[in-house]
C-alpha cells in the first residue's frame, strides 16, 4: 500500500529532522544519500544535501556521530556516519521526549491523545 504524501509545514520538518536522522543512524552506520532515501521512504519528503550534510556535521561536532570514509566500488568514496555512545543515549532521551511532546500536543487537538502515550515516570527520568 502506498502512503499518500502530505505536504508537511517546513518548520515541522526542521524541528524534527535531527531526531529523525539520529533515528535512521540508530539502525546502523550509513551514508548521506541513504539517509535522505530513508527519510523520503518514511514519507518525510525530499531532504536535500544542502540541508542534510550541515546537520550531520553539526551532530559530528557535538560528538553524537562519528564519520569515516570508505572507498567506493568504481565510484567516489562514501562518508559513513555512525552513532557514538553519546549519540545513542541522546537518541533514547529525545525519543522519549518527542513521544511525550506528541502526547501533550495531541491532548489539545480534536482527534485526542494517542493510545500509546509515554508513561510520565519515564519522562521524569530524562
Amino acid at each position: 500500500m502506498t502512503e499518500t504524501q502530505p505536504t508537511w509545514p517546513g518548520d515541522w520538518l526542521r524541528g524534527v529532522l535531527e531526531l529523525c536522522v539520529l533515528g535512521v543512524l540508530g539502525d546502523g552506520p550509513t551514508y548521506g544519500y541513504a539517509i535522505a532515501q530513508r527519510l523520503a521512504e518514511a514519507g518525510l519528503g525530499v531532504v536535500k544535501g544542502g540541508t542534510l550534510y550541515p546537520l550531520l556535521s553539526r551532530l559530528e561536532g557535538e560528538d553524537l556521530v562519528e564519520a569515516t570514509w570508505h572507498a567506493g566500488d568504481g565510484g567516489p568514496g562514501r562518508k559513513f556516519f555512525e552513532l557514538t555512545g553519546k549519540g545513542r543515549a541522546e537518541l533514547a532521551r529525545r525519543d522519549v521526549l518527542w513521544s511525550e511532546f506528541v502526547t501533550r500536543t495531541r491532548r489539545l487537538l480534536p482527534l485526542g491523545p494517542p493510545v500509546d502515550a509515554v508513561p510520565a515516570s519515564r519522562i521524569l527520568e530524562m
Binding site: G32, Y33, K48, G49, G50, Y53, R58, G61, G72, R78
Partner: protein, 240 residues
C-alpha cells in the same frame, strides 16, 4: 585537460569553483574543503543530481559548511595590515634596488623619485584594500569588477614614478642596494612556505584540486626574474 576529463562531469561546472572560493574566504582548512567537496561528489554520484540541484547556491551552502567547521580546521586569515606591510617592503625595495644599481653604474648616488614613493604608498593601500575586500570574490557577478579594480590599482601604482621624476631621497648607491636586499630578503623568508593549503581528498590524502606544475614556481620566481632582467637591462643599455 586530461585531469579534467577524469573528474566527474558534474564537478566541472562553476559551482565547485564558487564553493571552494567561498570556503577559502571563510578560512577553512584544505583538509575540510576536500572533505566537503568529496561529500558533494559522492552525493551527486548517488543521486544523479547536479550540485546546484542538491546543495543549492554554492556560497549559501559554503556558509552552512563554515558554521560547522571546528576551530582546529580554520586557518588564520590574512590580515590587510600584514599584506600591506609586505607590499610596502617590495614596493620600496624595487625602486631602491634599481636606483642603487643605476647609481653604481654611473658612479653617483642612488636617487629615489617622488613618484616611486607615491606609487609605493598607493600600492600599499591598494594591497591592504584588496585583502580587506577579498570577500567580494564570493559573488561571481562582482568578480570581474574586482579584477578590474586590481588592474586599475596596478596602473595607479605604476603611473606616479613616470610622471613625478623629481628626486625625493638621495642615498649612497651601495646603501640603497643593501636596504633593498634586506627588504626583499626579509619578505622572501617571511613568505616562504605560505600560501593556500592544498585541498586534500579524504580517501587519497593527495591534492584533489591540483594546480599546473609550473604555476607555483612561476609565482615564486616572477619578481626575482623580473628584477634580474630589469637590472640586466639597466646595466647593458646605455643611458642617454
Amino acid at each position: 585537460m586530461i585531469k579534467n576529463l577524469l573528474r566527474p562531469r558534474h564537478l566541472l561546472d562553476s559551482w565547485r569553483d564558487d564553493f571552494v572560493i567561498a570556503l577559502r574566504l571563510g578560512n577553512v582548512s584544505g583538509r575540510w574543503i576536500g572533505d566537503a567537496l568529496a561529500q558533494v561528489d559522492a552525493h551527486c554520484a548517488d543521486s544523479g543530481e547536479e550540485p546546484r540541484e542538491a546543495f543549492g547556491d554554492p556560497v549559501a551552502y559554503a556558509t552552512y559548511v563554515v558554521e560547522q567547521v571546528r576551530p582546529g580546521d580554520l586557518t588564520s586569515p590574512v590580515s590587510p595590515l600584514r599584506a600591506g606591510l609586505f607590499g610596502l617592503a617590495v614596493l620600496l625595495a624595487v625602486p631602491a634596488l634599481l636606483s642603487g644599481v643605476a647609481g653604481l653604474k654611473d658612479g653617483g648616488p642612488a636617487e629615489i623619485s617622488v613618484g616611486s614613493l607615491v606609487g609605493a604608498a598607493i600600492g600599499t593601500a591598494a594591497i591592504a584594500a584588496v585583502v580587506r575586500f577579498a570577500f567580494v570574490l564570493q559573488d561571481p557577478r562582482r568578480r570581474g569588477l574586482w579584477f578590474a579594480a586590481i588592474a586599475l590599482v596596478v596602473a595607479a601604482t605604476m603611473w606616479p614614478p613616470v610622471i613625478w621624476t623629481s628626486t625625493a631621497v638621495e642615498l649612497g648607491a651601495w646603501l640603497c642596494v643593501g636596504i633593498a636586499a634586506v627588504l626583499l630578503g626579509a619578505t622572501w623568508v617571511s613568505l616562504r612556505g605560505t600560501g593556500p593549503e592544498p585541498v586534500v581528498g579524504p580517501l587519497t590524502g593527495s591534492d584533489s584540486l591540483p594546480t599546473p606544475r609550473w604555476l607555483a614556481p612561476a609565482v615564486k620566481w616572477l619578481l626575482p626574474v623580473t628584477l634580474a632582467s630589469a637590472i640586466l637591462l639597466l646595466l647593458l643599455v646605455p643611458q642617454p
